[in-house]
Amino acid sequence: MLARHAEDMFWAGRYLERAEDTARMVRATLLSTVAESPTQAMRRMGNLARTLRLEAPAPGEDVQTMAEHLTSAPPMLRSPAGLVIDVQAAATRLVCSPAVAGSVVFCIGRARENFRSLRDQIPSELWEEINRFHLQLHHADFPDAMEQDPFRTLDSIRVSCQTLNGVLSTSMARGEAYRFLVLGQNLERALMTCRLLQARYLEMDGSSYDEMALTLRSVSALEAYQRAMHSSPLASDVARFLLLSEAFPRSVLFCLQLSESHVGSLAANGQPAPLRRLGQLRSGLEFADFDEMTANLPDHLRALEAGVRDAAEMVGDHFFRNAEVFTLHSQAIGPGAP
């Protein structure tokens, strides 16, 4: 497979995942702000924006990252003109603004561009579905609908994401293209879960059920957690579940195991760097002494996130490095050159 096409698929997977994660987290956060004071609610949105902080975007992107746009404490509550905006408007921006790298609109637009260049190699059902989704998001009424009825709108986005995933898994041959896409999705998902825990762990510490529930809901894990852990939740239990569950598809361990198996099938032979790195990360979690880990969880989470990020870069270096596009320079040396 052409390295360029593989890279396009990998990034399509990452963008699809990012869109879905953004939608889920915005929904969970909005839900928990319903009964809160405006100040509290704003603080929460600020926290969310930090969680969604995006790493360096794909090569060639020069859009403002969401972090620059929204993080530092009150600015995310400001409109571009500097006026304070409300929670609803902030949420709408996280979902609808094409200028915010990581908004749903932005991510789906990018995913579509990536699919476009290998339209010949993806099922036309997939192409039609991403097109439909893209058009849905670009409908003139969409930002209004988001502001008026955010829960319904976010649900419809979630359904669209799930439909896309359904089309993917039922219509795409399990070849290289599919593996790169799923690999991108899972690495992105692992990163997002790491970031969520980092942002939420201190909030949850010794705090109410609501804070635990928000964390779990952000990755649609509340029900799965309740079935798996019958005790009333402790912050460390939530962290353990989201890091180490072997059954829940958004736990970091689960994502790493899946990523490792895909990289293993993609590698022609031997043990390329990304495979070794993923193996280290995965076994580090499998054999972790969790009590020792909880003693210093923020540091562990930071290291884990860095490790996953590192593995994603190694995937790029190993499989796509060749497709990097550099500028061409002409050298011409003339007679009489000084």
Binding site: A3, D120, L328
Partner: protein
């Protein structure tokens, strides 16, 4: 009824339907206008769904249009086609010989005074970077599109040669696919020769020109400028129908004078490149240094003989319209044969006496720039305004080598659907010729039709449409291929 002064393909001068059009004519006679409109709607819907579109440069709105296919087919009977096949084979053979002579031969046509040396050196299509770069089998025009018209006597004439990147074959195949679905009954009892083997034939020709050292299973790729090119649809179509990779310049790299594509498993050698990028963008080392579409070092690899580029670099000198005027002489010179399909009568404007005559009669002639294609820059004397004529006169005087003039050829007509009825419209024909081990002419080709009443401009970029072209099988089935 035919338009007086023009040859009608379907109807003779007494208004009787010609023999080979009779079954189709009768079939269309049975349709009501509403039925035709329904078929048209069905066709548009199908093309839209499949994304069969073309791009018009320079127009402001909606530059993507669905492909305009007229339902009434053009039909060529077996005997007539046999003549065309011979004539096209002859022409392409001579043009390949000429190009090989110019680039790697002894320039015999120049040495023997058949063409003046300056005709070659002044051609913008003459690529000095391709001199002494040999091409396996001398198959420089691996794919050629030769534009033919029929004059008022019904005689076929060559209007221009397209030897660089002739496009349109995907439409030939899509037209046929659409017609077979829309009008299956109209094909009844007619042995229409198939065109859908094109992908296989093209691949066979491309593999035949692979560098001799590369073994039995050469790797072929299609090189496209990318998704924003107007013919991207065709590039993807061709790659798909050959089952080969569609690459962009950045997917290829030259390593030790060998071309390879970047894959997830590392570099993979490439032996033949069917490129749909213009010469000047192929390699920034020797051509446009700012081209990011090409592959640095590609020309050196070609020179080293490790890869074959098709069509060959520098073919533009062969379809320069001033060189066109000499093609009949080139056929006599290289093949010792009389040309089977004549040229349109052409004047070379750098010859002072011919120029003087043309400038006198500018309002009666067609004037064309020598290196353009797609109908761009053409001025049709009888239809031009005084201002247009004055402008082209200035241009000719400023750079006479850049222009030729031709007598107006009265393009033949064929019925086309005009919204409520079928009326005669002017048409031409672009057959496609493949040259690998041997020359193969694809039966039929792209018939283009000027949909505006009285118009002689058939280019799709200028409001033209197309027709499916049916070549009838040999009356004796045993002799048919």
């Amino acid at each position: 009824m035919p338009i007086p002064g023009f040859f009608d393909e379907a109807v003779d001068e007494r208004g009787r339907t010609r023999e080979h059009y009779r079954p189709v004519q009768e079939w269309f006679d049975r349709l009501t206008p509403a039925q035709v409109s329904a078929l048209e709607e069905q066709r548009n819907e199908s093309f839209r769904r499949q994304g069969i579109t073309f791009t018009v440069y320079g127009s402001e709105e909606g530059t993507e249009r669905t492909w305009p296919l007229d339902l009434f087919p053009r039909i060529i009977d077996a005997g007539e086609w046999a003549m065309l096949e011979r004539g096209l084979t002859q022409r392409i053979t001579a043009l390949n010989r000429f190009l090989d002579d110019i680039y790697t031969g002894e320039q015999a046509a120049v040495a023997d005074g058949i063409v003046p040396r300056r005709l070659v050196t002044s051609s913008s299509g003459f690529e000095r970077e391709a001199v002494n770069v040999s091409v396996p089998l001398g198959a420089r025009c691996l794919v050629a599109g030769i534009d033919l018209v029929r004059d008022s006597d019904g005689a076929y004439r060559v209007l221009e040669d397209n030897l660089r990147n002739p496009s349109g074959i995907s439409y030939v195949i899509e037209n046929r696919a659409a017609m077979t679905k829309l009008l299956p009954a109209a094909f009844a009892d007619l042995a229409v020769r198939s065109v859908d083997h094109y992908g296989r034939s093209l691949l066979r020709a491309l593999r035949a020109v692979a560098p001799p050292a590369c073994g039995d299973d050469p790797t072929v790729v299609v090189l496209t400028p990318g998704i924003f090119n107007s013919a991207y649809f065709e590039h993807a179509f061709l790659a798909r129908s050959m089952g080969v990779e569609l690459v962009e310049g950045r997917d290829l790299v030259v390593d030790d004078h060998v071309v390879a594509m970047r894959t997830t498993k590392g570099l993979e050698r490439v032996d033949v490149i069917y490129r749909r990028i213009d010469d000047h963008f192929l390699d920034p080392v020797v051509f446009n240094p700012h081209s990011t579409l090409g592959v640095p070092g590609l020309m050196a690899a070609t020179r080293a003989g490790t890869v074959t580029i098709a069509n060959s670099v520098g073919n533009g000198v062969g379809d320069d319209k001033a060189v066109y005027a000499y093609v009949p002489e080139l056929i006599r010179f290289y093949l010792g044969e009389a040309p089977i399909i004549p040229n349109a009568d052409t004047y070379l404007l750098w010859e002072p006496d011919q120029r003087a005559e043309v400038l006198e009669r500018l309002d009666e002639l067609v004037v064309k720039p020598v290196a353009e294609s797609g109908g761009y820059g053409i001025v049709i004397g009888p239809k031009a305004t005084d201002a247009e004529l004055a402008e082209v006169r200035n241009k000719i005087e400023a750079d006479p080598r850049n222009w030729i003039a031709q007598e107006v050829v009265g393009l033949s007509t064929l019925p086309a659907w005009t919204g409520d009825c079928f009326s005669p419209r002017h048409i031409d024909l672009r057959p496609f010729v493949l040259c690998g081990e041997q020359v193969e002419v694809i039966p039929g080709g792209l018939t283009r039709v000027a949909l505006r009443e009285g118009s002689l401009i058939v280019n799709s970029s200028q409001g033209g449409g197309s027709k499916d072209t049916w070549v009838l099988g040999h009356p004796d089935p045993a002799a048919a291929s």
